[in-house]
């Protein structure tokens, strides 16, 4: 029966090519526009580390107190980053399964070949826990050791990209890199790794590339490597020099903890609050403990990773899809009512309402499917267009995956069938006698 209806639907669509094309085009354009924006939205809102996003927590501590920022902010809007004092206090508490403080920095790398010019290498100073915590894949070697962390060892884990550039992709474990005139020993080379968004440090470039080199935090601090990321200072006086800045209330570090169970997280919240209360007792904070522990998803939501622009675009394009569907619905209505005579004859020859209903609905579905295919092509074209239009960091979000293809065609078929419900219902209620008489 289905194939017969399908055949009927195709014949009927062929009878009025212009109208059919118009409907398919309307649905295709609407689907194309909404799926283009939805793809970007989904990429922005994606979970960058699905199997651990509920176990990794960003730590926030209010070390400025109310109205110290100099600019008015809502009360629960805590600083995104933490100070060195607080980061060290929490590292020494050892209250999480794994934990790391980190910051963004960088080097000028002098290539082994003296004829090549030095180039810039963005780097991340962190603890060895970073790698297992964030499930960072290794191509060669391993993370550095706890002893390296404690001993401020000049070791580095480098990205696959940097390894390709400097060592031609060979296993470079054990080789040395000259970073700002210091020798660092390569202990590991990462495999391809690009969390989108770059959740562990959302400053500067949320969808940017990962760092090309990772070095022990302790080493970076000893070498007085300044931050390449965001640095925010309160209105408290800052003592001069590196030490002054380091021990000030300026915030420029990210702090993450891995807490596998809800009980662990609860306990950590308690530790965190106790720490802040302790700081109050010691006279450093003049306000009640104010801390936050947010898992990856909560963190991304709190930091507004999905931009207002993306939300507006999704809203606009889905309203557009609605208009396109209304359009197709109107045209379908026109088409079906134009065929009232045929339907009357079929009904008189014994087709029941269900049969007419099914037949017309399949016709709507066919239009939806064709519209979906057109929409898919338009989505691909739309994403290609966006890549040319938008900045490099945003274009990382324009990938059409298997899921997007499915969603696109599926939405088209379902939405068009829904839009076809009313015209179909009207068709099924055509009075055969009346139609035959009019003929």
């Amino acid at each position: 029966m289905f194939s017969y209806y399908l055949n009927l639907a195709l014949r009927s669509l062929k009878r009025n090519v212009v109208l059919t094309m118009l409907m398919i085009a309307a649905i295709g354009v609407g689907i194309g526009a909404s799926m283009t924006t939805l793809t970007i939205f989904r990429a922005m809102a994606a979970d960058p580390i699905p199997n651990k996003s509920r176990q990794l927590f960003a730590v926030q501590i209010d070390n400025w107190g109310p109205s110290k920022s100099g600019v008015q902010t809502p009360d629960d809007k805590l600083q995104q980053q933490v100070s060195y004092t607080d980061a060290m206090g929490l590292m020494n508490a050892h209250a999480a399964l794994r934990q790391t403080v980190m910051y963004s920095t960088g080097f000028a790398l002098s290539p082994p070949n003296p004829n090549l010019r030095p180039f810039q290498v963005p780097a991340r100073a962190t603890y060895m826990d970073f790698f297992p915590m964030f499930e960072v894949p290794f191509r060669f070697g391993t993370p550095w050791t706890r002893e390296d962390d404690e001993g401020r060892a000049p070791v580095a884990v480098i990205s696959r990209e940097l390894n390709d550039k400097v060592f031609g992709g060979a296993n470079s474990v054990g080789k040395t890199l000259n970073l700002d005139k210091h020798d660092y020993r390569v202990v590991g080379v990462l495999d391809r790794w690009q969390p989108v968004p770059k959740f562990y440090d959302l400053n500067n470039n949320q969808y940017g590339e990962i760092e090309q080199a990772f070095i022990p935090f302790t080493r970076a601090i000893e070498n007085q490597m300044t931050t390449w990321g965001n640095n925010n200072c309160s209105r408290d006086a800052v003592a001069p020099g590196w030490e002054g800045h380091l021990h000030s209330e300026c915030v420029w570090f990210q702090f993450w903890a891995e807490l596998p169970t809800a009980a662990d997280a609860e306990r950590y919240r308690y530790v965190l609050n106790n720490y802040a209360a302790e700081q109050q007792r010691l006279g450093r904070f003049h306000w009640a403990a104010h801390t936050r522990l947010r898992d990856v998803r909560e963190w991304l939501a709190d930091q507004h990773v999905v931009t207002d622009e993306a939300r507006i675009l999704v809203l606009v394009s889905f309203s557009f899809l609605l208009v396109c569907l209304l359009n197709a619905m109107g045209l379908m209505l026109a088409k079906i009512m134009g065929r009232a005579g045929d339907i009357g004859v079929r009904r008189a020859l014994g087709a029941n309402r269900r049969a007419i209903f099914g037949q017309c609905l399949i016709e709507a579905g066919v239009i939806g499917f064709a519209g979906g295919l057109v929409g898919l092509a338009l989505t691909a074209a739309g994403l290609l267009g966006l890549r040319a239009l938008l900045s490099e960091q945003t274009t990382r979000l324009t990938h059409l995956g298997f899921w997007e293809v499915g969603i696109t065609v599926g939405t088209a078929v379902i939405a068009t069938t829904l839009a076809g419900l009313y015209p179909t219902w009207r068709a099924a209620h055509i009075q055969p006698a009346w139609q035959l008489k009019a003929q």
């Binding site: 109205s67 030095p118 210091h182 507006i312 606009v316 208009v323 009512m337 134009g338």
Partner: protein, 404 residues
């Protein structure tokens, strides 16, 4: 007139009419808000920085390692750059227009103030800064060479004794009176305002800085740090050539450095506002597509109505209605439908905007947008209905005499 027959005909085609009304209303609502966003984004991305953008470029310089003789290296670089043919002037700074990264602090009017009076961006400059950026000094004076001190990197907390501020900041700090000669407090140190420039934008380009986007302070420091910006102004039309020569000059002076991607302020502007412009283009395309789709919807449904009423139209013609009257019938019908759509659409546009004001950091829609949108939708309806109406008018009267 012929309103009564139109309305009774419409009552028989309720759903079709409603579909067009809803389509037009949604079209209008999207159109108004999208055009409003486009206009705002374009206006935002075209704000002048205050610099001579066509002739200014920036070189991002990073030294390899931590050279011990940084002040001397910096002086040599600056002397080399200034001596290049085609260069008007050059200076070194911590921050750069349209770079979307920089330093800011709170500015107070008295010591130990609880809330800052204003937030402002910091730009370090020697006595060459105004000339190198092409800023317009509207009051007071430039820094003298003997006022310039070395400031060593991010951690140097040396306070500025004298500053030059922008007109916008001056008006914010001292509304209604001259800021020249007044003192401002920055991190609990007093600084004397010695000059006011017409305009100098903060380095951030995100709309969230809108409330202080022209609050900048120039401080008399030569920025001595491992990473810094060289900002160079060239004679008109020589930017490309000078930029190449400048990079070569720097490498000739010292190879132990990394130069980031050098660019003119014009390029920096394109890059900085790429997403804003992109959003405007996308919304523009969607608006255009929306109008086309809605128009085709009207054409399609009206053609169907015409086809359905062929006999009636023939009878009307036979009874003496002119072609003109038939066209006018469909035009009036469409005007009624589009009018209802526009009325609902205006309400929808305003509530959509109101919701966006709350949900996103959006501004209130200007009253002219719904008005323009309504007119556009009405014209669109009339234009779309014309072809089917003309087809209806061409139905011959003798059709009425023939059997169906």
């Amino acid at each position: 007139m012929e309103l009564v027959p139109i309305l009774s005909a419409m009552r028989r085609n309720k759903v079709g009419a409603i579909i067009i009304v809803v389509q037009m209303a949604v079209t209008l609502a999207i159109l108004c808000n999208a055009l409003f966003i486009i206009e705002q984004r374009i206006a935002w991305s075209e704000r002048p920085t205050g610099a001579d953008e066509r002739n200014v470029f920036v070189i991002i310089n990073q030294w390899v390692g931590d050279p011990t003789n940084l002040p001397a290296l910096l002086q040599a670089d600056l002397a080399g750059l200034r001596a290049l043919p085609g260069v008007i002037d050059a200076f070194a700074s911590n921050s750069f227009l349209l770079s979307n990264g920089g330093w800011s602090y709170g500015v107070d009017l008295m010591p130990d103030q609880k809330e800052s009076t204003a937030q402002a961006a910091r730009y370090f400059t020697d006595e060459h800064g105004l000339q190198s950026l092409g800023l317009k000094l509207i009051a007071g004076r430039n820094f003298n060479a003997d006022e310039i001190a070395d400031l060593f990197g991010v951690n140097d907390q040396t306070p500025a004794v004298s500053v030059i501020i922008t007109k916008a900041l001056a008006e914010k700090l001292f509304p209604g009176k001259s800021a020249l000669g007044q003192s401002v407090w920055i991190a609990n140190h007093a600084a004397n305002i010695i000059g006011i420039v017409d305009r100098l934008q903060v380095p951030w380009v995100d709309p969230s800085v809108a409330k202080f986007s022209d609050y900048s302070i120039l401080e008399p420091f030569r920025y001595v740090a491992s990473g810094l910006y060289y900002i160079v102004r060239t004679q008109p039309g020589q930017l490309e050539a000078v930029l190449k020569a400048a990079e070569k000059e720097l490498f000739d002076l010292n190879r132990e450095r990394v130069l980031g991607k050098s660019r003119s302020l014009t390029e920096a502007r394109v890059e900085a506002y790429k997403d804003d412009r992109g959003l405007a283009v996308i919304l523009g395309v969607v608006c255009a597509a929306l109008l086309v789709i809605t128009a085709f919807g009207i054409v399609g449904l009206t053609s169907y109505w015409v086809a359905q009423r062929r006999r009636q139209i023939g009878i009307r013609r036979a009874l003496g209605a002119t072609r003109h009257a038939i066209v006018r019938y469909f035009q009036t019908e469409n005007l009624l439908i589009a009018g209802a759509g526009a009325a609902i659409g205006v309400a929808l546009a305003l509530s959509l905007n109101l919701w966006m004001v709350n949900a996103f950091a959006m501004q209130r829609l200007h009253g002219s947008y719904p008005l323009v949108g309504a007119i556009v939708v009405l014209i669109l309806g009339q234009a779309a209905v014309l072809w089917p109406a003309l087809k209806a008018a061409s139905i011959p009267p003798e059709l009425a005499t023939r059997a169906a």
